[in-house]
């Protein structure tokens, strides 16, 4: 029995429905972030692409914080639609910046052979955007009255909560539509792996594909961030695992399986975050759990890939030497 002020009995909340809504939110957000990560990895031909690492989530958080600040200043309420709109716009700005930079590095995009370093530079763009957006969120938080500011910390480290049914429905619909669009782009993204020029020769409208994928990824990230704040590493780790387990022969399949796996993983991690209550007496934000698990795993992946590349390099050099030794 729950008691309100003055001992008035409150209606018994439907705990099962509440918990179900939280799990549903985890599934939706995990799916959106993982599908976005998989699609961006294919589009940028960069295995480290992820909405968090590339600064798209950061841009969304900044957009959300700025829209809250404006809403408070103007005196309108900080409705879900205002926050979501701001987050989507922020994500679009961040990814437009990113794409413009990658195109600049590629020098027109006709010469696929020189793109090896573009990936590393794309991540530098992410670092810059993330640093800037955290600064903006922190600044806005300081300027706002304490009541409005309290909610802003969610955009520094994401956490799941018990969502409004309407917000959950909006996020779920946007995610299903967005993931479906990215999956539909799968065959074209697969052809893109041979470079822009090669894809053009096979009939891919490279520019249109870029706009479509980046736009969809921004909307998905914006909606996810507006609902739960910045949750990193899910979009990076899940597609990696999917490709490693062999479910990613085709880019569309990778995106779809990543979406499903990401939903499951985030729900599980949120379960762990709530389980932390038993140990440390307080619930962890799921964003922290993701980073605690994700960062070391990512480090391991990077080390293994570097070792693999070194071994392949030795093998290639050996084969070339043998080929030359042949009369």
């Amino acid at each position: 029995m729950l008691c309100g002020p003055g001992g008035v009995a409150l209606p018994e909340p439907d705990l099962l429905a509440l918990r179900a809504s939280r799990v549903a939110l985890a599934v939706v957000v995990g799916a959106a972030l993982s599908a976005t990560g998989a699609a961006l990895q294919s589009l940028l031909r960069n295995p480290l692409a992820d909405p968090f690492v590339l600064g798209v989530s950061g841009g969304a958080a900044m957009g959300a914080a700025v829209s809250v600040a404006i809403a408070v200043a103007v005196g309108v309420g900080t409705a879900t639609s205002v926050v979501t709109g701001g987050a989507v716009v922020g994500a679009l700005v961040a990814s437009a910046l990113l794409v413009a930079f990658v195109r600049l590095r590629e020098g027109g995009g006709h010469d696929g052979a020189d793109n090896a370093h573009a990936g590393g530079h794309a991540i530098l763009v992410g670092v810059v955007v993330n640093a800037f957006s955290w600064a903006v969120v922190a600044t806005v938080r300081t300027m706002l009255p304490a009541f409005d500011a309290a909610g802003l910390s969610v955009w520094l480290i994401g956490s799941l909560h018990y969502p409004e049914p309407s917000a959950l429905v909006v996020a779920a619909v946007a995610t299903v539509v967005g993931v479906a669009m990215l999956v539909a782009c799968g065959p074209s993204l697969g052809l893109l792996q041979g470079g822009d020029d090669d894809a053009r020769r096979l009939g891919v409208d490279v520019e249109r594909l870029g706009v479509l994928v980046v736009g969809t990824a921004s909307v998905l990230t914006g909606v996810a961030v507006a609902t739960t704040g910045v949750i990193g590493f899910v979009g990076l780790l899940v597609p990696h695992a999917v490709r490693r387990l062999g479910a990613g022969r085709h880019d569309g399949t990778t995106i779809l399986v990543s979406a499903l796996g990401g939903g499951g993983l985030l729900a599980a991690l949120d379960g762990a975050a709530r389980g932390a209550f038993v140990v440390i007496g307080s619930e962890l934000p799921v964003g922290a759990v993701c980073a605690l698990v994700g960062a070391p795993v990512l480090a391991l992946v990077l080390i293994r890939e570097a070792r693999g590349r070194e071994a392949r390099g030795r093998e290639t050099r050996g084969r070339d030497a043998r080929a030359q030794a042949r009369p």
Binding site: Q193, G195, L202, G203, V204, A323
Partner: protein, 274 residues
Amino acid sequence: MTATRPHHVLRLQDVVVARRLTVPSLTVVPGLTVVVGDNGAGKSTLLDLCAGVSRPGSGALFLDDVSLLTLPARARAQRIASLGQRPQAAAGLLVHERIAQGLVARRGHGVFNNASNSVVDGAGADSLAARIEAVAAELGIAGLLMRPLTALSGGQRQRVHVARALIDADADAIVLDEPFAGLDDGASGLLVQALARRRDRLVVVSVHDLSLALLLGGRLLGLKDGAIVIDGPLPDAIEAADRLGGDPVRVVRDGEWVGLLRRRPGPPDLSGPG
């Protein structure tokens, strides 16, 4: 090949690509067109225009009466099969998958007759696997079909890329940028034969070596400093190839055209002054 193949024409009009290429007018008709020229003469720029994968600064490009500048990417790819310079491929792709792209990805599934699950085009009906094997055999890579592309040597890989561009018997035009790059003599010979088998089709090929141009025959386009300075049938046009660069060319004749040597500049003087 059937004699009823439609007659396709590629036309360039007043095409200018800043600092790279100027073509007031060029009409390419069915048959082999061989493009030669020194590095930086504009070969790749011309071939990318012909393949419809790049846009000129100004001017017009037509395949038959359709402008390549307004044709959607998919429709353009369905009509023109092409090979770019330094082609790449996704890691993990197998050789037969790469070659199949030339039919399946380029043409879309319309190329298949669903009832028999076979490829139906101007060369008849056949299974996709048979088509892949046929073009692979032409280029001497039939034994490599199940290997991952990344496990092949550079020359073998190049042959796979060429096979992808040649597999479609229905492409209106075939545009190959330096298909002989990295090929050994045996592979080059096979490719010369494969191109000879397609000489009733509109084929544009760039080569870096005049002796290959001579082996191929057909029409020679010589580029120098972004302009077409030679245009004529091979081997006659080779006499004019002197105009291409500073190095004079010498034709080795032994009853027939067997090759052509490009006299190289003498070895650098290493002794130095004093």
